[in-house]
């Protein structure tokens, strides 16, 4: 089972019961992090599920597509480890992820 540790906007850290095969966005939503809006429902059409992947393998820390990269550019809080959490699918292979919810735009 993948391990997902989440740092909310308040700074509080929480390990959540993560489900493989679902996106990090869906895992955050299921775990009750209400600051993740994910308005487009996870179809990579907005940038309201922005997170920083502070720990994890490289493939989890870089955008998965040009579209995702472009949407991340719309945030004033873009960092090198920025991801749209709807585009990062949790798998066992990813091991442990530490994800910080980015400030809202």
């Amino acid at each position: 089972m993948p391990k997902l540790i989440v740092i909310g906007r308040s700074g509080a850290e929480k390990e959540v019961e993560a489900s493989s095969g679902l996106s990090v966005m869906e895992n955050l939503r299921n775990a009750g992090f209400d600051e993740v809006l994910a308005l487009c429902g996870g179809c990579c059409s907005c940038a309201t599920c922005h997170v920083y992947v502070e720990h994890g393998p490289t493939e989890a820390r870089v955008p998965g597509s040009d579209d995702e990269n472009s949407l991340l550019d719309s945030s004033d809080h873009r960092r090198a480890d920025s991801r749209l959490s709807c585009q990062l699918i949790l798998t066992d292979a990813l091991g442990e992820l530490i994800v910080r919810i980015a400030p809202g735009d």
Binding site: L22, E26, R29, N30, G32, D34, E35, L37, L39, C40, G41, C43, C44, S45, C46, A47, D66, D67, S70, L71, D73, S74
Partner: protein
């Protein structure tokens, strides 16, 4: 009498976000959300896309899991229809005979699908796409369906057509006006989507008038057009817009005709009554201050936050830039701004490549962009819309030039 400090009528995107925002803002009073469907708040856009296509389960389109609402002490009163509002007593009456008093009321009911008025409009096999129940009924009938007639060439109709083609169904799409998406986009985009749907095998017809729905034994068999032609149909999907669900509020004395009128803080003319989302008619700066209703997730969500802030004593006007999206086949359409009233368009890129944008201008100012598989333009164009930028049209048309590099001419 039972009472909640805030009662939210409507359990869609707006209603859900209003409750979430109130708790985020530290509101500790009691909250109830009243929904007329049996389901907890769920995302509606997938109803004509991923959910209809069977790509996502219902659980995955819930806005929040059930436990979330309990943890936040948000009471969900589902399968409950509000029939009357007493603005003086601050009391709601329900179809089931129940009543509930409110301290503040947020009206977030959205709308009901507009129905055809011709004979046969309520036959078995005639569907709208607004609720989970609507889609379940369609999914249930689909295995026995060969040909579907879709009435209405808006987003709902076009998205449904794309899914049905994926299922291998024969699809005839009928639009009354001379182009699809006429209410929301310019002719370039309409022509592009018409061509795409035809290339995917949709029999798409514009300037068509529906006379009535034909039946046999109470079930739809076809659609009769003005002129007499009958188009065979085992299923009819009607996507011709919504009627805002505001009757009880208007009956209670709230101002409004097409929807209920709200100010920049989402306040209606009734004391402590707010309205948000599809049903809220508001003066929108992106429409030159015209009073409009916006039917979108963005609008529902941002107005919900505006109302929650007002209720918690933080009056912040609603000024968010409108944005929309629509996924059909492999086409990702993203729109920012409102193109209503445009007097000029500029095409960026070549629509033959299926990656291009249409920029809408009014009096020389950028007011909106429709971006097809052009996420960069969508992201960078937002600023142009927000600032109503004036840009040299030749520069604007040069797709090789990123929009963020286009500077304003010296004025």
């Amino acid at each position: 009498m039972d009472k909640r400090d805030v009662v939210i009528v409507g359990a869609g995107h707006g209603g859900a976000q209003a409750a979430i925002a109130l708790r985020q803002l530290g509101f500790v009073g009691s909250i109830a959300v009243i929904g007329n469907e049996p389901e907890l708040p769920y995302e509606r856009p997938p109803l004509s896309k991923e959910y209809f296509a069977g790509d996502k389960t219902f659980e995955r389109i819930l806005i929040r899991p059930a436990a979330f609402w309990a943890e936040r002490h948000v009471d969900m009163l589902l399968s409950t229809e509000v029939t009357a509002v007493d603005a003086k007593a601050k009391r709601l009456s329900f179809a089931n005979g129940g009543r509930l008093d409110y301290g503040a009321l947020i009206w977030a009911t959205g709308g009901t699908p507009r129905k055809l008025t011709c004979s046969g409009h309520d036959l078995k096999g005639v569907h709208a796409v607004r609720t989970r129940a609507d889609v379940l009924k369609m999914m249930d009938e689909l295995p026995a369906v060969t040909q579907v007639v879709i009435i209405g060439g808006g987003y709902i109709g076009l998205e449904a057509a794309a899914v049905l083609r994926k299922f291998g169904k024969r699809v005839v799409l009928l639009e009354a006006l001379d182009r699809v998406l006429a209410r929301v986009a310019g002719p370039e985009l309409s022509r592009f989507y018409e061509a795409e749907h035809r290339a995917h095998g949709v029999d798409l017809r514009t300037s068509v008038r529906v006379e009535c729905i034909e039946e046999k034994d109470g079930r739809v068999t076809g659609v009769r057009l003005a002129g007499g032609e009958i188009v065979t149909a085992d299923m009819v999907i009607v996507g011709i817009g919504i009627i805002p669900a505001v009757e009880p509020l208007i009956a209670a004395g709230a101002q409004g005709s097409n929807g209920v009128t709200v100010d920049e803080f989402c306040r209606t003319s009734l004391p402590d009554v707010y309205a948000i989302g599809d049903c809220a008619a508001h003066a929108n700066g992106f429409a030159d201050g015209a009073t409009i209703r916006l039917e979108s997730v963005q609008n529902a969500n941002d107005q919900a936050t505006t109302a929650a802030k007002a209720i918690t004593g933080n009056l912040e006007p609603y000024t968010a830039a409108p944005w929309f999206w629509s996924n059909q086949y492999a086409l990702k359409l993203q729109t920012v701004g409102l193109s209503i009233g445009f007097d000029r368009t500029v095409l960026r890129g070549d629509s033959a490549t299926r990656s291009f944008s249409v920029v809408y201008l009014k009096n020389g100012h950028v007011i909106a962009l429709d971006c097809v598989n052009a996420v960069k333009d969508y992201v960078q164009g937002k600023k142009l819309v927000e600032t109503r930028a004036e840009i040299d049209l030749k520069l604007l048309a040069d797709a090789a030039k990123p929009l963020k590099e286009l500077t304003l001419p010296a004025s």
